[in-house]
Amino acid sequence: MKWFGFIAVFLCGSLFIYGTVEFPGWGDPLSPTSTHVSPYYIEKTMEDTSVPNIVTAVLADYRGYDTMFETAVIFSAGIACLFLLRQMKRKKTDFRLYRHTATGITFRIEKGGKLPPTAKEFERIDGLWTPYDLIIKTTGRFIIPFIQIFALYVIAHGHHSPGGGFQGGVILGASFVLFAISHDLRSALNRMSEKLTAFFYTLGVYIYAGTGALCILLGANFLDYSALATILFVDPVTARSHGILIVEIGVGIAVMAVMVILYYNLVSAGKFDEGL
């Protein structure tokens, strides 16, 4: 059976390679891909949208409708993960665990016992063994602001340089994930609760689809950003450029929040306590 599989894969693979023989040469200026649609984008992007980065213009304007659905795919992935994994009812335990932050001693308080005062010296933890490392925490705290600034730059600078909402959103999400790893899930949830994350990722897709719907209300086709000119007080071409920025911000927010919710759900198997 293994050999049969190998032979089948080998034959199909060779056929695939044979199929590529007639491909146009690498970077061939006369190939159909570089003569049919691309010249229009190369010549007209600046004139049509006043965006210097052609890739961004194609992604978010000429084919912006695809990109909206790519964002919707990410949104669906977030909901799917929540739908499948999230445990809506929390299991009640008989005891609670607290850590004295200064000494690192863990207290176990049985049901009915007196809870420690909610002062800063005590923090609630989920497992008997919750790692606590000053070096990692401090490094994380030091590095996270820089990651976030860079992420915002990538989102905002999408029209001029490589980047945009997806990349920037992932970087921004990574900063929150790093916070959750270097501290613990409980403190990450204190900073950015599940509801806030859900709010952000719906907000992101609202911004994108809402911009499109606004264009219909202003009398143009769906996602025709030039219609925004009247409310942004600019000319239609600049309006396209601003429209791209608006949807990129939406994508960035949605992607960031979905990364965070995926991490929260996967790492704790949907229980939202310290997992792993």
């Binding site: 056929l15 695939f16 044979y18 199929g19 023989v21 007639e22 491909f23 146009p24 190939s31 159909p32 891909t33 570089s34 003569t35 049919h36 649609v37 691309s38 229009y40 984008y41 304007d61 000429y62 084919r63 912006g64 409708y65 695809d66 659905f69 790519e70 919707a72 795919v73 949104f75 669906s76 992935a77 909901i79 799917a80 929540l82 739908f83 499948l84 999230r86 809506m88 009812k89 509801k195 859900a198 709010f199 719906t202 897709v205 609202y206 689809a209 809402g210 499109g212 719907a213 219909i216 143009a220 086709n221 769906f222 996602l223 025709d224 950003y225 030039s226």
Partner: protein
């Protein structure tokens, strides 16, 4: 406003999905109503579009104001106009019919469930309405992803079945994407009709040949044609019933539509049918699918599982009918997309109703059901007769066209397979009628006790029955108005060159 209908069909459910998700956090009862309103608007717009198509032939909508091939365009003609109306109607009716069972099964997760439900409808309708080959892939991703999630919440082995579906579905979608990539290399365009205008000059190219083979392989996996069907039975058996009565009628049928669209509108009939000379082999593949699907259905012991194998056989009907490459065969295939979607909805809704009242759907659990749930089982009889192909239900007419096409093409193997499958369907469904009607009421039912009162009438709630009755009546109506459907719509969906 009516010029925006193509956008409304997709965009309103999409935005509604976001609202539903938000409402799930605030007040759960709103979710259903938002979904219902969105799908009603979608149904209304697709109906309006079909009327526009009947008047002006083709409706084109440019997203972002960019004309193709630079931007993305939606294009509605006779072929997808009718499929759109049917899918929208199915999604809406199923939403209404499954309200109670969603409340029963997903009380905590109503928000995410309805959001995924509406996103699935968005993806499926988008696949049907789009005129851009890559946009189709993106929407396919949405429809598949939400489908996996909905199936994964089912009983027993649902997670494993869904994982299996994820693997097979992803392979299928990747193949489709690769095929589109090959087409892009060969033509430099992604718009279906633009590709079609460039392709005739380069039909001899190997790249086009490979694009054809790869696209088709991907679509065959997605539509579960026989050797690639393995993901389907488990996924459909274990999935939650409100989800499956949405997914089963739409997914595979829409993929058959995509095959017809890609082969007729992108590759054009002269390439698909004449240059390739693969018609007969594909019809034989369909024959095998029909025969094997029917035989495997015979050996099943539970209702949903049996129905999933019946569906595998039905996919064979449509694929075979299309590859007969004559007018009657293709008419039969398109008509069967509509009819099969409607009858699958009917029988899976009944399965959902049964599971609402009875703990399982194995044949033992069906004993005495005609007494307990006469209305649901009555609708089941209509659905079953339609699948068997008894006039005046709609199943008869599409089968008639398919058989006529088979005889016209001289492909008697296909005709024999259709008749064989109909006979097997008779056995399959009359066995269930017999169990439900004559076998004594078992003690497996949820009520447990054998009191005389317990055995009597206990059908599903009215909210589930009324939509089911509408669907069952629709099966007969579709049958009676077949002639109108074919002469007004379907005959224009087939390009002129096919006799």
């Amino acid at each position: 406003m009516s010029q925006h209908f193509p956008a409304f069909i997709i965009v309103i459910p999409l935005i509604a999905a976001f609202f539903i998700f938000t409402a799930g956090w605030l007040k759960r009862t709103y979710c259903f109503y938002i979904a219902a309103v969105a799908l009603a608007i979608s149904l209304f717009s697709s109906f309006g579009l079909l009327l526009q198509v009947l008047q002006n032939k083709v409706v084109v909508y440019h997203f972002g104001g960019w004309s193709p091939p630079w931007g993305i365009a939606y294009r509605v003609d006779y072929l997808n106009g009718i499929v759109l109306v049917v899918s929208a109607a199915i999604a809406f009716l199923n939403l209404i019919a499954t309200k109670k069972s969603v409340e029963k099964e997903f009380i905590e997760r109503v928000g995410p469930f309805y959001a995924l439900y509406v996103l699935f409808v968005t993806g499926t309708m988008g696949i049907v309405v789009t005129g851009d080959a890559f946009n189709l892939y993106v929407l396919l991703e949405i429809a598949s992803l939400t489908g996996y999630a909905l199936i994964g919440m089912g009983t027993e082995h649902a997670a494993l079945a869904s994982l299996n579906y994820v693997f097979m579905g992803t392979i299928g979608a990747s193949f489709y994407l690769l095929g589109i990539g090959y087409l892009y290399i060969a033509t430099g365009s992604l718009n279906m009709f633009d590709i079609a205008s460039i392709l005739p000059n380069i039909f001899q190219s190997n790249v086009v040949l490979f694009a054809f083979v790869i696209c088709l392989t991907g679509l065959f996996i997605k539509m579960a044609l026989f050797p690639m069907h393995t993901w389907l039975p488990n996924a459909y058996t274990y999935s939650p019933s409100p989800a499956i009565s949405l997914i089963a009628p739409l997914t595979t049928k829409v993929m058959v539509y995509v095959m017809i669209r890609i082969l007729l509108s992108v590759f054009t009939p002269s390439f698909s049918f004449k240059s390739m000379a693969v018609n007969t082999s594909f019809v034989w593949l369909a024959v095998i699918a029909i025969v094997v699907g029917s035989i495997l259905a015979l050996s099943q012991q539970s209702l949903k599982r049996m129905l999933s194998y019946v569906m595998i056989a039905e996919i064979g009907y449509m694929v075979g009918g299309f590859w007969l490459a004559n007018r009657a065969g293709i008419t039969g295939a398109i008509l069967h997309i509509i009819n099969d979607a409607a009858m699958t909805l009917c029988v899976f809704l009944v399965a959902g109703n049964i599971l609402y009242r009875v703990p399982g759907d194995s044949f033992d659990n069906l004993k005495g059901l005609f007494r307990k749930m006469p209305f649901s089982m009555g609708a089941f009889v209509v659905g079953a007769l339609s699948i068997i192909g008894v006039p005046p239900t709609c199943g008869f007419f599409s089968k008639w066209y398919l058989i006529t096409g088979g005889i016209a093409a001289g492909h008697y193997g296909f005709v024999a397979a259709l008749l064989f499958s109909s006979l097997v369907n008779v056995v399959l469904f009359f066995r269930i009628f017999e169990i439900g009607y004559f076998e004594p009421f078992g003690d497996l039912h949820i009520s447990g006790s054998m009191d005389e009162e317990e055995k009597t009438f206990d059908d599903a709630p009215l909210g589930m029955l009324v939509p089911l009755m509408i669907v069952a009546a629709g099966l007969i109506a579709l049958g009676i108005y077949t002639d109108t459907l074919v002469t007004k719509v379907i005959q224009f969906a087939i390009p002129g060159g096919i006799s």
